[in-house]
Symmetry: C2
Subunit: 395 residues, 2 copies
Amino acid sequence: MAKANLLVAQSGGPTAVINSTLAGVIHAAYRHGGAIDRVYGAVGAVEGILAESFVDLTNLPADFLDRLRVTPGAALTSARYKLQPGDVARLLDVFARRNVRYFCYIGGNDSMGTVAQLDRAAGDTGAALHVIGAPKTVDNDLAHTDHCPGYGSAARFIAMMIRDTGLDSAAGFRSTPVKIVEIMGRHTGWLTASAALARAGRPDAAPHLIYLPERPLTVERFLDDVARVHEAHGYVVVAVSEGVRHPDGEYLFTTSRAHDAFGHRQLGGVSVMLAHEVQSELGLKARFEKSDTLQRAFAHCASTVDRAEAFMVGQEAVRRAVAGESGVMVTLVRESDAPYRCATGAVDAAAVAGEEKRLPEACIAPNGVDVTAAFLDYARPLIGEALPPYAYLPV
Amino acid sequence: MAKANLLVAQSGGPTAVINSTLAGVIHAAYRHGGAIDRVYGAVGAVEGILAESFVDLTNLPADFLDRLRVTPGAALTSARYKLQPGDVARLLDVFARRNVRYFCYIGGNDSMGTVAQLDRAAGDTGAALHVIGAPKTVDNDLAHTDHCPGYGSAARFIAMMIRDTGLDSAAGFRSTPVKIVEIMGRHTGWLTASAALARAGRPDAAPHLIYLPERPLTVERFLDDVARVHEAHGYVVVAVSEGVRHPDGEYLFTTSRAHDAFGHRQLGGVSVMLAHEVQSELGLKARFEKSDTLQRAFAHCASTVDRAEAFMVGQEAVRRAVAGESGVMVTLVRESDAPYRCATGAVDAAAVAGEEKRLPEACIAPNGVDVTAAFLDYARPLIGEALPPYAYLPV
């Protein structure tokens, strides 16, 4: 079979390790020189393919790839573009004209829908295309994979953030006893739950309350919880999902009086609102932390496990494409918790596209404001090395 | 002279390295066993001394001190307590009863006022007390010292945060082209200026606009700036001080319509307000980052230079106390920029107490929204090792 070209693209929100997957794709493509001629990157995901905005990645030096592995953001730039009628045919046309037989698409839910559509259309038209999805999302909400590249690094940062700002609160509890830390993940609690990985070494360690989108919450319940923890420990560190909802189904932050007065949703989110409620209703000084895209982008705290797996997933996508597979997403398959071992597998991309994997009930503590040991066992290996041990004085 | 006890306390907001200074004090105290009997820590700064809430630090193992050096927060806990009439006499009384002849006070501006008052009162009453201040503040606003322990680590985190979230914005510019990053430092721009240390490797690197409290700002000027940068680069990353003010002297965030509608200052600060203005006035999607105490607490990004200097300052405070000095604050004295070399000195604590060192004019670019090479030369050595090199594709 004559050689053909490989195209790679990155879609959706960047992560700390999505470029590691890109580097894995490029690295593997170089090693399949018998099948692959040129390696192209699409600038701006599907929009870039439609515009034939390609960058040639065929001859990147090894040290460039080493640096790419640790660079956050998405080196090819991404886009959130919804496929329009006719787009699939136009994509196949671009692939044919540019002799692209292998397409690796790094992305989340929507991207896997695109993988499935392209594969189906290629089959229908007899086009020679092998399209493989490589998962990425800090939200960790893709079905049929143990976890998603990007999650472990964001979880690691969140655990570090909660631990260190928690110690800040423990030190300054006399003046500002309450801290509300807002965490990404609008629909699923995987990231918010990872705050629990911060706890170590002291019985009153943060976080004290974890509010997941899987559990409805009222401001009254929240204030009761905060008052109780304040009574017990003298300070309160709250990890709250940006997507936590009122029992009536509305996002909690839209139910505040502040929101009513202001008339729209741009108040800064649930942490601002809850800090305000603590101050006005409990008379306790409260601060909020809203590290926004930092949670998905902060490469300095990337999990070495996550970074290595992201690379592996990229390599595996190429291996499967060259082997003639198509329409699948590479998965991570956990083989063992202790010692942690993970291999790759594959699943029909169409099966991933429509689903959203929420935090299982077995991961949520009965009190609804904490996680279980099962979650900690699941998540701990994903964040890489143990957090450094700290020293606490008996104060 | 008979041996006496040493007391150490931590005041004000914690930093990533204030415990390194504490470890330096303890370490040096152990090495002055000829003069020092017990080593006590006051739990909760001046309040703790008045309540005689002491923890004995005399026999801590070496590995505990090693861990203390890297632990954020303030291990003794801090407090913001304003001295009341009679407090100084009561403090001297506690010192006399507990045979405390050496007092090391780790803190900022206000704490240096306490050092000066105690020294004066001890002189007036003939009390045998040697009180030495050890500087700490992420704000870097103490006079008569080249810089303050705590600043370098916060500046390093801020540079890393801007660089990584900047790449996130560069990757996602098609959907969300504007990011507003709010930075600590209500009165001085040292921390906000450190955002400029993020730039490296690409001509369009973030941050694009830096708003310092030393320069007044209107929303109109801000929107003009954002529109101009968006036109040039396609995305805009703004570093804005939480304390930036309107030309009329009010904090900028209190001048928004949002604030008027809501009727108080708890909206989440200037970044929320500016992101809202960008969306409503320019029609560009904007996000904001408000990492709050994380900026001062995040030990995982601490500057090795800062941590070592913090330790050195603690040791020096003990050395000077035992040598009979009193009423001074230890200073950092820069001896050379390249290679960076810094020694310790001392200054009258009273001279530090009343002053606030703002960012000098020579550090602010003529356009008012950037820093100068002089600032970069000043700040770069303080953040420790160079940030890791990244890889950029020509997209």
